[in-house]
């Protein structure tokens, strides 16, 4: 990976320097503190966490049709070495013709319609060490082709290089009891991270309905976990199988209502007990928005979504049979204050999470966010050799936190 990163860096820096005129430069710096309310469960974990992150962007238009964007990211974490990491989020040249769009380089692509989780979204690896919401992604090297249809679009992606998921290290919180050994990933395919993955997505809009069908074939982004025990130690290694995934997205809009559905069928992914188990999973529900409520300037949005994973207890995540209720309250004041609350309730145990988010900006360049995450009612994680999906979540139950983040944008 490092060789590729170096090559992209050199190429990008050369490009930027070669024609410094006409480039747009932007950036943002974040200071982040996470305060954990409970004592850590596992040896070596810290009780709080401080980090600084930087994301820069250089953008240039060579012509109306041809553009290039370079976005490096780096986080320095003062407790967890694994969370100190850099990534090239984007280094992407895009040529937009009248009937075709061709892109080459490292880019970020989002698929999906639901809010509670992003089932169908598979092009980019999750930068899981950044946040738990699956919304921070690692840059994905790709060649992409977009063809517009009447009221629709076909996207085709070739992905020659695979990115491994990031995990917290020994000192990090929000990790399993045994640290995932990211230095020794296991691949099903002998080409390892160089396997050529590909994907296609077809999207169509019909008046108030939007539908999308997608297919992915290649190295699965979600690792199954391989467990190996020597005399004294147990090691957990990420295992990246070859998978095939069929995805379907639907959205129906009617007045203030947005009905949403995402479903996948995946072949080739080993489950929690490491046996290959083809499965389907669904997320669906609605979003309802109210504007200028009670004669104020406030807006209020409500979401209700259900999550179902056919593997149930053998799913790779604790969100396998859950109901998610959420509300977003937008105050429409000078500081653009927004408050988000999410309740994630397991359907057959008392396990639940509460997420609270508060955000505002100060002046034109500063943004402040507070985020609180609470785990409640989860079963204990032990014994570790008999895990189920809920007890996966149980491994994090001491990790309630309050995160304070201040961003400066320039």
């Amino acid at each position: 990976m490092w060789a590729i990163v170096q090559r992209v860096l050199v190429l990008s820096v050369t490009l930027v320097c070669a024609s410094a005129q006409g480039w747009e430069f932007e950036g943002e710096v974040f200071g982040q503190v996470r305060l954990f309310s409970e004592a850590p469960d596992y040896p070596g974990q810290a009780s709080q966490n401080q980090s600084i992150a930087v994301e820069l962007s250089a953008y240039h238009e060579f012509s109306k049709a041809l553009s290039f964007e370079f976005v490096p990211f780096f986080r320095q974490d003062f407790q967890d070495d694994e969370r100190s990491h850099g990534d090239i989020r984007q280094a992407y040249a895009l040529w937009a013709g009248s009937n075709v769009e061709v892109g080459v380089g490292i880019n970020k692509v989002f698929w999906g319609v639901t809010e509670a989780q992003h089932l169908v979204d598979i092009i980019n690896q999750t930068d899981a060490i950044e946040a738990l919401d699956q919304e921070e992604k690692l840059g994905q090297p790709m060649l992409s082709l977009s063809l517009p249809l009447a009221n629709g679009l076909v996207d085709i992606y070739l992905m020659p290089y695979f990115r491994e998921r990031t995990f917290a290290g020994k000192a990090g919180r929000l990790r399993p009891a045994i640290v995932i050994d990211t230095d020794n990933p296991v691949y099903e395919h002998r080409d390892r991270e160089h396997h050529l993955d590909w994907a296609i997505r077809l999207k169509q809009s019909f008046e108030q309905t939007e539908l999308a069908l997608s297919y992915f074939e290649g190295t699965g982004r979600d690792p199954s976990i391989v467990r190996s025990t020597t005399q004294s130690t147990t090691v957990l290694a990420p295992y990246y199988p070859q998978i095939r995934q069929f995805g379907f997205e639907a959205q129906y809009i009617r007045n203030a209502w947005l009905w949403k559905l995402e479903t996948i069928y995946r072949e080739g992914q080993p489950n929690l007990q490491f046996s290959v188990d083809n499965y389907y999973a669904v997320t669906g529900g609605f979003e309802y928005n109210m504007y200028a409520i009670f004669n104020t300037t406030h807006d209020l949005g409500i979401i209700l979504e259900g999550i179902y994973d056919e593997r149930k207890d053998l799913a790779l995540s604790a969100q396998e049979e859950d109901i998610v209720v959420g509300t977003r309250w937008t105050l429409n004041n000078l500081n653009s204050t927004e408050i988000l609350a999410l309740w994630i309730q397991d359907a057959d145990t008392s396990a639940h999470n509460l997420v609270l988010e508060f955000s505002m900006h100060y002046g034109k360049s500063v943004a402040i966010t507070l985020e609180a995450l609470m785990f409640s009612g989860y079963p204990g994680a032990e014994p570790f050799n008999d895990l189920n999906a809920d007890r996966l979540g149980g491994q994090l139950r001491q990790d309630d936190y309050l995160q304070i983040e201040v961003g400066y944008f320039f």
């Binding site: 009248s98 679009l153 309802y288 653009s336 320039f410």
Partner: protein, 275 residues
């Protein structure tokens, strides 16, 4: 109620054949033929506004909003606004936010429809996600300003029913005064009183009345300039909330017309590559 408005009915009542002819002659302005009802007169004024704006094809501008609350605190929003003229349906509008910087690159695409709810999509650059927005946002505040989405969205003649109230002088401008009633039940207003100047058919002032029939906001539009020798665009808009004294000033500049834009620049796919 203006004097001009009161004068109209009395003139008809007392008119002889001769004076009626004179009145007809005086009113032979194309829109106000004496046989028309106040509804028709009102609608005709807005059809004329619409007609005079035909053929601009596309234009863009930078808009700077200054939001001010009761205690004088200020906050700024800056955005680039691009409009594509609709031929068979309503206009398409793309708004890209520049400030505050934490939402820079966020883009809102609206397809206005002559009939029914507009379609709206939001592009969130941090996620690379295009998110559909439900259609009932019209009455909502636009990024915390005193402008509602519906105040800024493209206006179609059929969005309202009209009633001509009479003439009124507004500063140096001799204006028609028309009350219009939104046809959309999701609108935050029961009616708006609009001042339109007679010489160029430009809107100079709007009074907005809420669901309780109370005057809630007053918009003043000024700094009009003519582009391409035909299309008038304002340089300054001021929206003052009559209930709490909050206000939003909007300065519009850098108008550029006819960049050769097309539908392909206003769809979900182009939204993904907005800068």
């Amino acid at each position: 109620m203006t004097r001009a408005h009161l004068r109209f009915p009395s003139r008809h009542k007392n008119s002889t054949m001769f004076s009626r002819l004179i009145v007809c002659f005086l009113l032979a302005l194309p829109l106000l033929a004496s046989g028309e009802t106040a509804e028709q007169q009102g609608r005709a004024i807005f059809e004329e506004i619409d007609r005079r704006d035909l053929g601009f094809a596309d234009f863009s501008s930078r808009q700077e909003m200054v939001l001010r609350n009761q205690s004088g605190q200020e906050s700024r929003r800056v955005m680039d606004n691009t409009v594509l003229e609709g031929d068979t349906d309503g206009d398409k509008v793309l708004i890209v936010f520049r400030e505050p910087k934490h939402i820079r690159g966020t883009a809102l695409l609206t397809h206005a429809h002559r009939v029914g709810n507009d379609d709206q999509w939001l592009y969130l650059p941090a996620l690379g996600r295009v998110k559909r927005i439900s259609g009932a946002s019209r009455a909502g505040s636009f990024v915390g300003s005193e402008f509602a989405y519906e105040d800024l969205s493209p206006q179609e003649v059929d969005d309202y029913t009209y009633q001509y109230l009479g003439d009124d002088a507004l500063g140096d401008n001799d204006c028609y005064k028309v009350v219009r009633t939104p046809t959309d039940p999701d609108s935050g207003y029961t009616r708006q009183i609009v001042w339109v100047d007679k010489s160029e058919y430009r809107i100079h002032k709007i009074e907005f009345y809420d669901r309780k029939q109370a005057l809630i906001k007053v918009l003043t539009v000024s700094g009009y300039k003519k582009y391409l020798d035909k299309y008038w665009r304002p340089g300054h808009l001021s929206m003052i909330n009559q209930l709490d004294g909050k206000m939003t000033e909007m300065i519009a500049s850098e108008y550029v017309f006819r960049q050769g834009l097309s539908d392909e620049d206003f769809n979900e796919n182009s939204l993904r590559r907005v800068r």
